[in-house]
Symmetry: D2
Subunit: 482 residues, 4 copies
């Protein structure tokens, strides 16, 4: 009897490279083998960087219309192979096929947006004669590519979060080396395939797979890398910051996003949005709703409806169109989530629904009375668990919402103008959604957090700003004197 | 017995010019003589234009830091002579001394803002290689002065509305000829004095006085004038538009601004703001509240409070610090207002308070039940009269508010988010103030209306946009070919 | 024997409408009949406006992603039927098939750019607390559609110059009524077909054909029209300005563009570019090179090369791929060009090459020694005629270049920085091309002129700015006080 | 007998604090004592941070007009005490009194620019309906203060480089703690005095003095500090980057700026500008000219003129108005410069002029034939030494100019357009000055470098961008649905 082993090579500077040492990619749902990918060595990384350095020159000299054409062609390729992309996301990751399809749509959008932004990378003219010393000068500043970028990407949006780094990098004339999450390299490799087919010059893009510790450390600390764009956990983010040295850092880290529900809110809408916001992608979403602060008068009503709606959540096979929620990315992760919930319960929290683990699956879970000092009340759960708290006043909700080391996005449900603006002014976050869950995002808006949630902003135009340097040009002229 | 006659010369291309033929400036409060100013002839206008054409070249070649210095020095001069400026406004116009003082403060701000914006007149670099045909080109666009501007200004803000044209014109390197309102030329001439003292090169600014029909027509139709910036009535605006021909037009015309009061609003705040908004400057304010649509449930309460507050309004001597409201700009105008009110009453309107004319004074007046076809329900009253209407729903209020040929600014008082944004979306105006009267404005915001309320926007930065032309520059280079 | 008559209906508010009265469209090359189109009556225009008023509401309420989808689909349609579009342009207009193909490519680009700009129509937040009176306010300004636009378009780019008005109008949520040039309505109707197929809601776009005097006058003076966007001659532009009244005007008028050639220039490049710039589209291009000022030392060399290159110009059948230049738009026009050349020759000009008319064809013509007072030295020739002048110094070239009532674009050929910036500063035009002919343009750059060359700017983003109004929003808040 | 010791307290959160332990500030010219300043302890730093955390809240809640007033008042204070400021700079630093006066003027400008930019901190509205998922949402993003900033500033511009951090910090609503250079704390403390007098609320600004190792390390690594703004050497910059962790970094580091002189350049102008650029502030200027690449044909001529001009340089007493150049900041530094020059000479370099050290003074020095591997050819000399190299072609000059680990600004002298743009495209720097020395700067332009020269940009507006975070606001509305 034979087993056909499927191996996917990695993409190094325009070549598809296999290695003897490999890493297995498994379906978290049942542990079944999907494919293996190369385990790159330190030497592989160094060679990739060397090639990418020359790729950066190629990238910078691509006329904008060529960059645009490549990005649109890559998007066309994904559109044409949409099913392959969606299935791969759903297989290797923990998204359901419905969620995976949504991600493919957004990835296409991200690449097209990148193409559009490519021709809008602009500087401004400078009126130098605003000071006496600047008379007789005419000039401007422009934006030019930063050079070589290292991208380290997470498992939870294994395609679109890669596109959010690769798209802007190519649009702005940079070379980029991607190290995708060890658990989900296949979607990133598919993206490389799309660019390969789109005619991207070799060496501009590489996707290298393998052990994060080895690859990641080398990438982030190498002097040829001018910028590290990382999406992932706070702890790793802090380590990278220390290792990177004098580099531009873009850090999209985690959060435990709060949502506030005022008594004047549309309760059905609030419940519907926050349930979805808490459990989509099995809660493995940096924007996912983790803490809900509900005005006392409606706490019971909201809680009842919320639990009821949670019970209807359909957990099961990721590839089934009727599934609402799949497994976590690994059993290990499910066990961690379980343990955080158990810690909270031991400390006095009350479990209203959920709390059941089956392998990598963890049922949608609602907690109340969670003490502030519990891990789950402070850290990012990154699982399908949500904490409900009653509050007396909006001011108190805002204070509690701020009382953590994260600040990505937040939501508030209210009909009242003053409430809305109090939240807008008071919440220490990068985005505030009025009458929306914290996980609303469009790919063209600035995206990122404050405090432990990160540094810099993504969202194509904003990522491009981070990926470019400013160059001032001044012409001193005799001819303007007279 | 002798009478000492005070004559103020006009400011032509850096010279203070007297003429035998003069126009008398009188205090509308009592008809007392203040000063006479020259009555410029057609020939004067033509000569002024000729000089200003060369002034436009001078203006364009002033380095930005020199423009800034002149604007700041003019502002300093006004600060130093603040009392003279305020008293002049209060004497020749219909503002109280308190209102006049406020206008002086804003004028200083307008000039300083103009200085600041002077160094922020910027173009953008253009990525020409966004198309194949544009490869090997580098360039940008900049903004350069439009040339010679004619400004025609109204009596109601005789200083600051002139500054809103002169400040941006000088900041952006243009020459400008001002024809101030016949009733209030002295404030504009004082502004010229400030610039004269500030070292503005001659010929950049002229303020010519005289008969509007003669001066205005010649100015707006003369081919050397590249832009007409007019603030005044709709009818005159339309005439100018037809006469001007191929010129840039900036038209700040009138309005009969609506305010909506919803039952969930803070009623005291709504009354306080709308009373002030209706009667400030004796209602002679293009932003003044003319129509208030009040939700049925609170109509009686609002009306009672509004009338009560109106009765407290102190009408009297403009120069007294305790006066809330002075006369209209002329007895003729007061008679016109009186006749519009009488027409409405004859058609069925009910007069709740006011309706009394004494010379140029007209008491603060509140009407209800004014039929839609009345002049006062359609046209701009430009006097201290306000119309209150009950409405059943917000949608109806919006429809009624839109049902005129004006659209400058509007207000709505409400605590509710959905109401606020319905108004923002639905009201056909240039500015919407939530929980404010329609007459809120800061000098740095874009200002102007739609429909019969005008064309283009003022507010220093926005006026400068209108006063400048775009110039594209492209360098085709062999050296970029590779 | 029968003749099959081909009739193309006009596009009124989503319906394809035929009329009994028709206008014949003929091939200017041989006068052969191509098709007839309806001759709209005044009543047709009024009904079209009425429908378009409701179309404006529809347009404004289309979500941006729907506008984008429609624009991209229309571009797709044109790409798919590229040959039909190109042949139509070449048949009804005076472009060669090669030039027509280029125009189709640019039209597609214009529509895609419009789609891209649709999602970039942005306002800015306003820091109201920059003055004491603005404390406790939060707000912003946005751009909203101006409403209903009338577009009057010329024959020389019968597709892309229509797209430059229709694309931005739809992108920014406006309705638009197009009156195409009487000679070339078919390309505009094809564009309507593209939008019809793309699912544009009815009433947003109309293309009405017929007598310009009737349709045009009614359109530009009708009060429901908020903006007139005209591309055409100066004289008509001035008439429109007077008739339009209080409307936003966008005027892209003509020019007689100058190019300066300095002795340090690359002479081959200069000749190649200016010959193409003078004779493309048979000189019927508002950007076409009409006057060349050549530094004395190289005047003879340049002239010799220029004439030599002109002689190689292949004039002939528009539909042949090897043709460089076709006929003028009509024999009448060719006769006018001929008469202007004859006038110049009578006044002392010397004809170096060309000057031969055959029906609507006029051979590429080079003149020297043309006295300044000749019509052809002052007015826009809009035909394949170019005037060469020697100059002693750059300053003289600039002065002569400026000495007309036009100012669209200009070119200068030089290797020297000081020369380049002297030209940039000194030439009174909307665009300066260093080492390029005056007729360089990409569809995304700001485009338009000064003096008699127009008002406002096109180029998708810039057209959208003209087609939108600014709306200020301010929330006054109690909650910010504390 | 008594000695009167002059002690200047440090400025901690609004209080002027003395400490027993002090650091002496000496005049580098003669080692004479100027004053002592406190040597802050770790505990002092921690307490300052604690106060500044609450200061950050105060700063953020200051209305913009109050921030502006404070900044203008501080500028007024400096204008009024201009002599004290200039003398202090000249005494404690190594600038001549003429240079010091120039710095005071620029500092005033920097603060006024900061005030102006305060009211221009703007976000943009976001068209959320650009995707289907964003329909029915209205919103925008704004910029809010990052919080608490630590600034570490250098000795060479002891006033204005502090103002470049303090001004933007206050303008954008942040609190800031400044650690000035140990050698030159007095100018920074004078700036604190200006703000103290201007009514800046306590705790918003602190200037703490003492040992850099202790204070600096604590500041940059403390978690309450959200941003480190450092101007200084590359080595220290790299250390800070590693210690800071997850913080925004603004790094203005050193350079060894290149200037290219082509044979077509104006030789007198080139010599005059580069001599000044090399020796101003005794070469202690991050923008100072260190390497000049001269086209072979003019190398001898340029060198001769350069040496001749250098010999005329007047080195002497800083406080004398006729002095061109004073001492280095310390004898230790002068010895370092001396040793780098000696190393080069030992390796084969030729000394054309200079090379003489007297205490902290080092004479203006010109070297040729310096081998590439010498320290002085690679590192930043930060002293009055310049290296001249002949080159065959521009391309070679660009390659050599790029061949170091710095990239701040660069100059090129040429009359030729192609040369200029080759340099603009090819030089890896943050600013390129055509026909200017590398040290041209105006305070309002973006300023900063690539490679080892730094991260981020200063120049008031650009510093503010770095000092603010983006916050997205979205209102989901039912009312837009219908």
């Amino acid at each position: 009897m034979e087993t056909k082993v499927y191996g996917k090579p990695m993409y190094v500077a325009g070549r598809w490279v296999e290695k003897e040492a490999v890493i297995e990619v498994k379906n978290p749902q049942d542990g079944s083998f999907i494919a293996h990918v190369p385990a790159a060595t330190e030497n592989d990384v160094l060679m990739t960087i060397k090639e990418a350095e020359s790729g950066a020159k190629t990238a910078a000299s691509m006329p904008v219309h060529v960059r645009m054409a490549v990005l649109h062609k890559a998007a066309d390729y994904i559109e044409k192979h949409r099913d392959t992309f969606a299935t791969t996301i759903a297989l290797e990751g923990s998204k359901t096929i419905r969620e995976a399809n949504g991600e493919v749509t957004r990835c296409i959008q991200t690449l097209r947006l990148s193409a559009e932004e490519a021709r809008r990378i602009k500087g401004e003219t400078i009126p130098f004669d605003q000071t006496e010393s600047g008379e007789n000068r005419i000039g401007y500043y422009t934006k030019f590519p930063i050079g070589l970028i290292a991208a380290i990407t997470p498992f939870n949006d294994p395609l679109n979060l890669v596109a959010h780094k690769v798209g802007p990098a190519i649009a702005s004339g940079n070379a980029i080396i991607v190290k995708p999450a060890t658990a989900t390299p296949l979607s990133a490799l598919l993206l490389a395939e799309a660019f390969d087919n789109a005619g991207l010059p070799p060496k501009v893009l590489s996707v290298i797979t393998g052990n994060g510790r080895i690859i990641g450390d080398l990438l982030v600390s190498h002097p040829a890398i001018r910028m590290v764009s990382f999406t992932g956990g706070l702890e790793t983010g802090e380590e990278i910051a220390k290792k990177a040295g004098l580099k531009k850092l873009s850090m999209e880290l985690g959060s435990n996003s709060p949502v506030i529900v005022m008594k004047d809110a549309d309760m059905n809408e609030a419940v519907e949005c926050t349930v979805a916001g808490a459990f989509s992608a099995a809660g493995q979403n940096c924007l996912g709703v983790q803490r809900i602060y509900i005005e006392q008068e409606v706490f019971e009503q909201f809680t009842t409806q919320f639990v009821q709606r949670t019970r209807q959540y359909n957990v099961g096979d990721k590839l089934s169109a009727s599934t609402d929620m799949g497994p976590l990315i690994s059993e290990k992760e499910a066990i961690r989530v379980e343990s955080w919930v158990q810690e909270a319960v031991l400390e006095g929290a009350e479990l209203l629904v959920g709390g059941v683990r089956t392998g990598a699956f963890y049922s949608p879970t609602v907690l109340v009375n969670v003490p502030m000092h519990c891990t789950i009340a402070q850290q990012e759960i990154f699982g399908p668990v949500v904490l409900l708290y009653p509050v007396n006043r909006l001011e108190m909700a805002i204070e509690l919402a701020n009382n953590v080391n994260y600040g990505l996005q937040a939501g508030i449900f209210t009909a009242n103008i003053e409430n809305a603006f109090k939240a807008i002014q008071g919440l220490e976050v990068g985005g505030i959604l009025i009458n929306d869950s914290s996980d609303f995002r469009i790919d063209g808006m600035p995206f990122g957090g404050v405090k432990g949630s990160g540094l810099g902003r993504e969202g194509v135009k904003f990522a491009i700003e981070e990926m470019t340097e400013t160059k001032v040009v001044s012409f001193k002229l005799g001819s303007l004197k007279g």
